[in-house]
Symmetry: C3
Subunit: 136 residues, 3 copies
């Protein structure tokens, strides 16, 4: 029996928000031993990302690097009505991903030792973000 | 019963081509209520992308931004026999994706309100592009 | 019956390592006629990528282009204890992907003619990399 679940994530500021435990809990409750967990973020100004979970400096550097690459108030932008952080957020989303598929083995997400699952909020103020989980 | 279907998309020029309705039609015809829709593009110079569907200026800015980042005729390129737009197309494909997985809930694609599905053609003249759909 | 399999890939140096045959062999042995093959890389300093399989110059240009975009020893980095190639490897992984989903049709991976599956090693010395395959 496939399981569909909606997770609501309150971000609140730009950056990487660890959702590994939220996702792992649903997987364990599902009772699926060997399967697939798909995550789909229903937004175009935030991303889902697998990243280094050990040292916060790696995530900080990643964020600073991408903020330098995709600048606010770039004169190339014409889509500016929704604020300086809106168009960069769409570009950052395009360069990363809104869906992730992770195998389930032995009843658990088959993440590597140093992998965490992050919701990467690209808007300065963040918001209430919806992730659809599908387990089968 | 899983459904496999091949969609042919005629692009014809560089840019984002909306394929949301084409994909949604196949999902609705499949009769699957709760499942997964996987899209796979069989090319290395075009991408599949979820992006903002409301304001065309966002898609235009995204395209202009990426064209500036991944320039034609960059002196770093040695793979130049297939035209000025070929190597940039491969790089753009690597920075985005050729596969998308979208949950199906209540018989419909679980897209967010502002999300559309786009085939992003990276070659100037485009072509006939093949997308393999798998629904289960 | 879903199949889970772990592939060990010995990289050994930076660059794109072709794993198409390794993956195709497991798919053919699985006996699945119409389904999905999901690959998940359990690391944060290497990626999985679909790319041009014909001309090695395309892959070389891709690698050189990304090495120029994501430089070693960038003064923006604070995460530097694991070597000059570590933080660039995390950024490159974020810009690409650690999971791929490819439909299976007629008992074979539904790859396009010019598509190969690559493990993109981002560390200079590479290592022993684990890919979890799920076929269903």
């Amino acid at each position: 029996m496939p399981v569909n679940r909606q997770l609501w994530i309150h971000t609140g500021k730009q950056g990487l928000h660890d959702i590994t435990c939220r996702v792992a809990d649903v997987v364990e409750q599902s009772g699926v031993e060997d399967g697939l967990c798909t995550l789909f973020l229903q937004h175009t100004s935030a991303s889902l990302l697998i990243q280094e979970n050990a040292d916060p400096s790696a995530r900080l550097d990643l964020e600073n690097w991408l903020n330098r690459l995709v600048r606010e108030d770039d004169p190339i932008y014409t889509h500016t009505l929704e604020g300086s952080d809106d168009m960069p957020a769409h570009i950052k989303t395009a360069l990363t991903s809104v869906s992730l598929t992770i195998p389930i083995t032995g009843g658990k997400l088959a993440l590597g030792t140093w992998q965490g699952i992050y919701l990467w909020e690209h808007r300065r103020r963040g918001g209430r973000r919806s992730v659809i989980m599908h387990i089968s």
